[in-house]
């Protein structure tokens, strides 16, 4: 039997359609989170807003010295974000909390990369420049980066920054979790080392969760009964305890589903056994065949 072009496409179209009807056989989405990562627990009720973490971070990571290191007078007037010059910043929030003299009590909140368990940036990176390490660090490899900045769009916390001012060798800038320090025995991130009140507790994530739960149990009046980062976007390595609502200190309410779950599920289901391209070309082929059949033979006579 001779297979005509038209017949071929017809067969392919049917085959593609049958694959489409069948539920995709791809595996269910699985978390790639490291089993025993490090983490940090930030206790906002302990933070006094001294900004020593900013100073230490800049020193450890060879970044420019933060603006007005030793003066806290005006720096908190604007809401700051981590940028190409700073991996972490502390902001001040007046949330309506008052002391016994009705004086407003500020809450200070440190912002940095949360080092998600299933990071959206790692999933979005098309060249594998961002990876989630065994230590819990989301690491960035500048030699692989092509500067697409998908990570910046993907991050639910809007953390990665870009060196827009550098036209030759721009980098994505974000907290490194002091990987060089914590990957060594007994190493502690710069910010946690310097923090005078231990508002940042460094340790294994599981241990920190225990510590956090203990603090909530021992001091229910001091804290809101929630550990931010325990479940948000599938869990983060950096977690927060607070006495004021988290939304008020710029820690957004996020779903418990890891961000890459939906995108990766969609992507993986689309490309399992290449059924979607096959279907697409099948349908296109079918359409072409159908149009060809209905078309009148080309007019050869001319005018």
């Amino acid at each position: 039997m001779q297979i005509t072009r038209r017949h071929f496409f017809r067969v392919m179209g049917v085959a593609g359609a049958s694959v489409a009807v069948r539920p995709p056989a791809g595996h269910a989405w699985q978390s790639k989170a490291p089993p025993d990562p490090y983490g940090c627990l930030v206790d906002l009720t302990r933070c006094v807003g001294c900004r020593k973490c900013e100073e230490a971070c800049a020193e450890v990571n060879c970044l420019p010295e933060p603006e007005r290191v030793n003066c806290q007078c005006t720096i908190f007037e604007k809401d700051r974000r981590p940028d190409h010059d700073a991996y972490t910043v502390v902001n001040r929030y007046y949330t309506g909390k008052v002391d016994e003299f009705d004086k407003p009590v500020p809450t200070f909140a440190k912002v940095q990369c949360m080092h998600c368990q299933d990071p959206a940036c790692v999933s979005a990176c098309i060249v594998g420049a961002l990876t989630k390490d065994e230590t819990g660090t989301v690491r960035y490899d500048v030699t692989k980066c092509i500067g697409c900045r998908y990570c910046m769009v993907a991050c639910p916390f809007e953390i990665p920054a870009y060196e827009y001012h550098d036209p030759i060798t721009p980098k994505v800038m974000k907290c490194t979790f002091c990987y060089d320090r914590i990957s060594k025995q007994g190493g502690v991130p710069g910010c946690a080392t310097i923090c005078p009140t231990e508002a940042i507790t460094f340790g294994r994530r599981d241990t920190l969760l225990e510590v956090a739960k203990q603090r909530l149990k021992n001091n229910p009046a001091r804290y809101l009964p929630h550990i931010y980062g325990e479940k948000e976007v599938g869990g983060t390595s950096w977690m927060y305890l607070s006495g004021v609502p988290f939304e008020q200190v710029n820690l957004p309410a996020l779903p418990e589903t890891p961000s890459p779950k939906l995108s990766e599920t969609v992507q993986h289901s689309l490309f399992t056994y290449l059924w979607s391209p096959i279907l697409l070309f099948g349908v296109l082929g079918g359409l072409m065949a159908w149009f060809n059949k209905n078309d009148n033979p080309p007019d050869k006579g001319g005018v």
Partner: protein, 238 residues
Amino acid sequence: MIKKIMVCACLIPFLAGVCAAEVWKAPDQEQARERAKETVPFVKEYKDDCQISRRICLMDAGISLDDVTTVYFLLDSPIIKDREDHYEPVRFAHKRHAALVDDCTQCHHYRPKDENALETTRCSACHQDSFNPEYPERIGLKAAYHQQCMECHQQEAKGPVDCTGCHLKHVPDHKELVKLPDNPDPIQVTKACLECHDTQGEDMLKTAHWLWRGPSPYTTGHRKDILHGKGTTALNNF
């Protein structure tokens, strides 16, 4: 003249520091320095008492303010300096705080489980290195100091809460900085100070040290003068 001498009396220790070849050291300061270097074995287990039962415990043990022997501590433990050493040590007026707070349990909040241990153990027995994975909820020595001091200072609205309010400033050796003739008079000394410390000079003019008016019962010959004071009988007024 006597007044003049009194004015410069406060400068004599400073002068001594500048001129004397052999620096005199205060014995209690040296003692505090030595004590700060000591480290004690880590207390693993503590008795989880509430504050009231702690107070009763101390009362039963007969511990009162009279037992406070050490007047002040230099908070300069190697436990803290191991990790980072950015600030000069803090001089903690132990006896003064004890008298002011009048409640040892404010700081001596727990005691070791070991019955033979002292009722008032030093901070660094329980609080040592930060982030000890075996005792994750035990805060380190540095955090213990800061949390304890700052929380109380804030609550009582007394005492400093900024860094240099407690930490000694790094004072450079003035031997090289100050050039004075041999046997300088008070005016020369004050002038030398004000060459750099002009802000402090301005500030001083607003304080009671400058503005006081009143009797000088201990100044011979001026016992009944009530209008004396640095601001009026300015002896070394720049």
